[in-house]
């Protein structure tokens, strides 16, 4: 047993030393640190802008609305001129962790008006030039660089030894092939994780010292869990690189295969998974929903006008409150259906994307940061419950009009305006975390076995 451990240690040490001597570790450290810090700077500026925007929005909530009705009362008739000018409805405060992983935060920055309907305003990011490329946050840097450097440390572990002739010498020793592969993957993993750990924590320290982020113990745990997931992601790609090395005969072919595999796994699979999820759960556009709500409202007004005309001709009855409640109910149902489809689409996309390591990392990290699918879905749910509170108050006012009902409605307004949707707790993100970790572990284990299998059949001559 001791001999096995010493063999593993020897091969692992040799791998790490080789990676340090040919400056691969240094290059990885420099590239990852540079990009992590650049990303941290860019995303904190973005976060601070969003925070300042939110503060102004909060101030504006206290701005009085201006307006009023002026009646033109003439002898033979009258008409009214009305004006009202308020302010943007409240927006949600940006999550401090979005400076590290922005995720879906851009969508959650919308101003949303909650009354008997939920009205989403346009997104806050007016410049929109970034809309056609990925967001360069930490999860993006990890997704690209950690996987790339993992492959760089591993794609030639076998082929290079074969080309230099040392593989024959090594295999002439009484050492099992699986042990060699496991030692080599350990060496490659350590070579990757050392610079990654340094760059990741340098970024966290920079964020803390320069911007006071992340804050609190829970945020620190989130940051550590993201680090753990990213490390696992790196190890998966190390195994993929070693597998590629065991199925190719030349380093040149190994590196091109590694690059093409990387492009497929990182750039294509998660995007394709999200597109397929969208096709399987087709959702109408938000403006489509609004158009259908408008049609319902129009139908209601026409019915009311006809009822009013008939009532004036016969009994003098005006309008029917039941119709208004029915309209509210129809609108509520249509909005809920739309939001449910959106939420299902998000969940399905996360499930499909988790089948690839890059998708599992992105969704898992976003959920841990409180900017992912769970946070977005609970963001939608919070508006639904606020809207239900408002509808309930409106219903009561229609049933029992009077000052008490008005007071209840005012209270509902205050309750919903004051409700702040918080980031889901760490426990709530556990499901997503488990999905992502399971996927990453499955990929890792599969490629460990595949690499052992490939190396057993490898011709070392």
């Amino acid at each position: 047993m001791l001999l096995v451990w010493s063999q593993i240690w020897l091969i692992t040490k040799r791998e790490i030393t080789a990676n340090a001597r040919n400056f691969k570790i240094l290059v990885a450290l420099m590239a990852m640190t540079l990009l992590s810090l650049l990303s941290a700077r860019a995303m904190t500026v973005d976060y601070e802008n969003r925070l300042s925007n939110w503060r102004v929005n909060q101030d504006r909530q206290r701005d009085p609305a201006v307006g009023g009705d002026i009646s033109y009362n003439l002898a033979d008739g009258s008409f009214v001129h009305g004006e009202v000018f308020g302010h943007t409805p409240p927006i949600q405060s940006p999550r401090p962790f979005s400076a590290l992983i922005k995720g879906m935060s851009g969508e959650m920055d919308r101003a949303v008006n909650v009354g008997q309907q939920i009205v989403f305003w346009a997104r806050q990011d007016e410049p929109a030039t970034s809309a056609i490329f990925n967001i360069p946050d930490t999860s993006f840097v990890i997704k690209l660089l950690v996987s790339l450097f993992a492959l760089m440390f591993s794609f030639d572990t076998v082929t290079q030894e074969k080309e230099s002739g040392t593989l024959r010498a090594m295999m002439s020793q009484p050492v099992s092939r699986s042990l060699v592969i496991i030692s080599k993957s350990l060496g490659a993993s350590v070579s990757l994780l050392a610079p990654f750990t340094a760059s990741y924590f340098m970024e966290i320290i920079y964020l803390h010292l320069a911007h006071g982020l992340p804050t609190g113990r829970e945020d620190l745990i989130r940051a550590l869990l993201i680090f753990g997931m990213a490390s696992l992601y790196g190890i998966v790609f190390t195994q993929i690189g070693i597998f590629i090395s065991t199925i190719t005969r030349q380093t040149k072919i190994a590196v091109t295969t590694a690059l093409l595999t990387w492009a497929t796994i990182v750039l294509i699979l998660p995007n394709a998974a999200v597109l397929i999820a969208k096709l399987l759960t087709p959702a109408p556009s938000y403006n489509h929903l609004n158009a259908s709500l408008y049609e319902e409202r129009k139908r209601f007004l026409q019915d009311e006008a006809e009822a009013d005309r008939a009532a004036r001709q016969s009994t003098g009855r005006i309008g029917d409150q039941m119709n208004l409640l029915r309209l509210f109910e129809i609108q509520r149902q249509a909005t809920d259906d739309y939001l449910t489809i959106k939420k299902d689409q998000n969940r399905l996309a996360r499930l499909f994307a988790a089948l690839s390591p890059a998708g599992a990392l992105t969704f898992g990290a976003c959920d841990l940061a409180g900017t992912g699918v769970d946070a977005y879905n609970s963001y939608l749910d919070s508006f639904r419950s606020d809207r239900d509170v408002m509808l309930d108050a409106l219903r009561r006012r229609l049933d029992f009009p009077g000052p008490e009902a008005d007071r209840l409605l005012q209270k509902a307004h205050e309750t919903t305006a004051g409700s702040r949707q918080r980031a889901p707790s760490l426990g709530a993100s556990a499901f997503s975390f488990v999905i992502s970790i399971t996927s990453l572990v499955a990929w890792g284990v599969f490629f460990v076995f595949a690499a052992c299998w490939g190396f057993r059949r490898y011709d070392v001559r």
Binding site: N53, L74, T129, A131, P136, N271, Y286, N287, H288
Partner: protein, 455 residues
């Protein structure tokens, strides 16, 4: 000699396992992506038609809703079309348009859609750079370069043959990819995307611009291949450059621009505009109050009062438009400055320049969005306000139920549809940068190869 080297290069490239592997991958990915894009576009087109019919009935003398038209080539390059609002409610009184939300698209923030521009700009440039990285380094490794240059042949000719030897097979793959993508889009979009002459011409230009990007990538690969001694080093450098210029620099560009060129936050800008608008509303209400009292005292008829009221309203509308319009324009300029800066930074990457050109060509870029906003403003001034006030003057709001009859029939908004030359002129800046990048890459390749030591 040129032909011999070219022939050998084409043979080497065509037999390369990289090319075969990529061809298989593209044959799977291209129809999948095209099919998804076509079905999505068909869905968006149906959604657009439904909304159009609803909003036509919704238009009144108080406000109208305008919808941004669907760009015909959106399935080929999505651009910023989905990311920007596509409906605008124009109130007759206010200079600020009430922008309803665009669609809720949280997933697009994490994974932008794969379209033809991605397939060419990312995957095919990777293929090209992988094919080009060892054209010279390989010959040097094998010692064949010495033999070639020992014969009376100019180095530029050798380089031209090597470049052409990679570009020709890549061009064939490009034509295959564009044809396959186009066929699948046309088939699955069920008539929403038609291969009209205009679209065909635009796609031809699309292919030529794509070829420019691929030539630039190829020239970078060949230049590095000439500069380094070993094939593996060449591959490492080529892959690093490809990652930086295609995957890292373009996403960072806008965020770096936001650091150096700041603009007030949206809410701060809205507060400033609201402050001004509220002041004007107060004054307007005061004047209405005074006028209402005067008219009541003069005991005029309601019809006369209504006309007097409309005159007053129009006067205040013009005043508000003028005062608020200035602030809105200032805000637009600030955003536009930041956008221009961000885009100029991004243009260092041929991939970003390629997408800029495609935005103009396919009508899914920021220019098309700005053109729509300008057309909408013109439509408001020339069609909506005059006809809206005409209709208002004929209304009788003192009669109960009259508001239900307030339906405004307006001609369709004519959005500018520039011809191909116009679209290319709009893309002159990124296109010239792209061509310059291609020329610089080729010149760099020549320079390095002329000076390189063949031993």
């Amino acid at each position: 000699m040129f032909q011999t080297i070219l022939h050998r290069e084409i043979q080497e490239t065509s037999a390369s396992p990289i090319l075969l592997f990529t061809l298989v991958a593209l044959t799977i990915l291209v129809p999948l992506s095209a099919c998804i894009q076509a079905r999505y576009y068909k869905f968006v087109a149906e959604d657009y038609n439904l909304r159009q019919s609803v909003h036509q009935a919704e238009n009144s003398s108080q406000s109208i809703v305008l919808i941004r038209p669907l760009p015909p080539l959106a399935p080929f390059f999505n651009g910023v079309y989905d990311s920007l609002p596509d409906e605008f409610r124009l109130p007759i009184d206010s200079a600020t348009t009430n922008t309803p939300s665009g669609d809720l698209i949280p997933l697009d923030w994490l994974f932008p859609k794969i379209d033809l521009s991605f397939i060419i700009g990312v995957l095919m440039t990777l293929l090209t750079i992988l094919l080009a990285h060892d054209t010279i380094a390989r010959d040097r490794d094998q010692g064949a370069l010495k033999l070639v240059l020992a014969s009376p042949v100019r180095r530029r000719l050798v380089l031209a043959a090597k470049l052409t030897g990679v570009i020709l097979p890549v061009t064939v793959v490009l034509i295959y990819v564009v044809s396959l993508y186009t066929s699948v889009v046309i088939f699955f979009s069920r008539g929403t995307v038609a291969l009209s002459i205009a679209n065909f011409k635009a796609l031809t230009i699309f292919t030529m611009v794509a070829l420019t990007v691929l030539i630039a990538s190829c020239a970078i690969g060949v230049a590095i291949s000439a500069a380094v001694r070993q094939s593996s080093v060449s591959l490492f450098v080529c892959a690093s450059i490809w990652i930086v210029i295609n995957l890292i620099w373009p996403p960072f560009g806008p965020y770096v621009a936001a650091i150096f060129k700041t603009v007030p936050t949206p809410e701060a800008a809205r507060r400033e505009i609201a402050f001004k608008e509220k002041d004007l509303i107060r004054k307007e209400l005061a004047e209405h109050r005074k006028t209402a009292n005067d008219l009541e005292a003069q005991q005029v008829g309601v019809k006369f009062a209504w006309q007097r009221y409309l005159e007053l309203r129009r006067k205040w509308m013009e005043r508000r438009n003028k005062a608020i319009g200035r602030l809105v324009e200032e805000r637009k300029k600030q955003i536009s400055d930041q956008q221009v800066f961000a885009r100029r930074i991004s243009l260092f990457s041929p991939y970003a320049a390629f997408r800029e050109v495609l935005g103009n060509l396919c009508g899914t870029g920021l220019e098309s969005y700005d053109e729509f906003l300008t057309a909408a403003e013109r439509y408001k001034q020339q069609e909506f306000i005059p006809k809206g006030f005409d209709q208002l003057s004929q209304q009788k709001p003192w009669v109960k139920g009259a508001e239900l009859e307030d339906k405004l029939q307006l001609p369709h908004l004519q959005t500018p549809a520039p011809d191909l030359f116009g679209r290319l002129s709009a893309a002159a800046w990124p296109l010239s940068i792209l061509i310059a990048e291609m020329i610089i890459s080729v010149a760099l390749g020549i320079l390095i190869f002329e000076r390189s030591d063949v031993r």
